[in-house]
């Protein structure tokens, strides 16, 4: 599977490493070159410096042939916009994005985006742990 991951923070890098180990073709994107330090030397995928909201960079990252696009930058709105570009402009089959704000997540889920809110998920997990 060809996967483009936008945002090489802790979550983005971790996901890139996991997928890379399973021999998927991974490209990570970040606007800060320092973020790529999170990728180990044995990482076989591509690391690309640039803004994931820029069509040219996305094309360079191979979005046109990608099977999946993941948006996990620090900005909810960046993730939302990038995910919509991937889904509606490049017709990537599987698009997932992170939206911290639960209300914004609900709205964009309604609008057809596959979005996860770490806030809701983690709060739910804590509650379950308390109750167990």
């Amino acid at each position: 599977m060809k996967v483009v991951i936008m945002g090489c923070g802790r979550v983005g890098a971790q996901l890139a490493i996991l997928l890379d180990k399973e021999n998927h073709k991974v490209t990570t994107l970040d606007i800060n070159v320092d973020s790529f330090r999170r990728l180990p030397p044995e990482f076989k995928g591509k690391a690309l410096l640039g803004n994931g909201l820029d069509e040219n960079i996305l094309k360079k990252a191979g979005i046109e042939e990608a099977d999946a696009f993941i948006a996990v930058t620090q900005g909810d709105n960046r993730n939302i916009m990038a995910a919509q570009i991937a889904k509606h402009i490049f017709n990537v089959p599987k698009v997932i994005c992170r939206i911290y704000d639960p209300l914004r997540r609900d709205l964009y889920s309604m609008l057809g985006l596959d979005a996860l809110s770490p806030t809701t998920i983690f709060a739910q997990m804590l509650k379950e742990k308390l109750e167990s």
Partner: protein
């Protein structure tokens, strides 16, 4: 009309000023408390502090009764999300977004934003108009009808100078609306009208056929 502006920077500030002068009800949503205070002390209580992308803030702003929602922050993604929340959550009839990267204009329109304004694109179009080698200028585009109004200049060395309009094959969906001659006199083109050097032709066309129209009228 009730107009909500997201972003109290210079653009939002002067927009609000002008709209207030035209007797509209205006509200600015701005993240920075100091900016809100400046606006309030100069224009009265027409500003609230908050993130224009948040549903709760937009609810407090009374977005449900807004006629126009304008997002003019410095970040394209924030403007997109603010307008989408206004449109899909609060059913605002008209949303307008400022776009920094002119390439985002198409994306924004595809994602449901009614109007996009890109100062880069506007200045670019203006420059194109001033460059003599570029005979076609966009004057207006009517998005929902897929129609645009363009201006085409006939260069003195154009092959079509001296040709009658009836002898030119225009692409479908293109209509010549007006000719402004070198002496500034406008006239409505008829089949017998003969193209002259430095004529400016105002035509209605579609984005897909504008290149064909340019070729037909300029012969190159």
């Amino acid at each position: 009309m009730y107009i909500i502006i997201v972003g109290g920077g210079r653009l939002g500030y002067y927009l609000a000023r002008t709209l207030l002068d035209e007797k509209h009800e205006v509200l600015i949503i701005e993240k920075d408390a100091a900016t809100v205070q400046t606006i309030t002390s100069e224009m009265g209580s027409i500003s609230i502090k908050g993130d224009g992308c948040e549903t709760a803030v937009l609810a407090e702003a009374g977005t449900n009764r807004a006629d126009i929602f304008i997002s003019v922050t410095g970040e394209d993604e924030d403007n997109l999300v603010a307008c989408q929340v206004a449109k899909y959550k609060f059913n605002v009839p008209r949303t307008i977004a400022r776009v920094r990267n002119p390439k985002h204009e198409i994306i924004f329109k595809k994602l449901g934003i009614d109007v996009t304004v890109s100062s880069t694109a506007i200045i670019l179009e203006y420059i194109k108009h001033e460059v003599p080698t570029n005979p076609l200028t966009h004057l207006l585009s009517i998005e929902e009808k897929g129609v645009e109004i363009v201006e085409i200049k006939i260069q003195p060395d154009s092959k079509t100078v001296g040709t009658a309009i009836k002898d030119i094959t225009l692409p479908p969906e293109s209509i010549l609306a007006l000719i402004i001659h070198r002496d500034s006199k406008p006239s409505v083109p008829t089949p017998a009208t003969i193209l002259q050097a430095e004529d400016q032709i105002i035509a209605v066309t579609s984005p897909d056929t504008e290149d064909l129209l340019r070729t037909a009228l300029t012969g190159s």
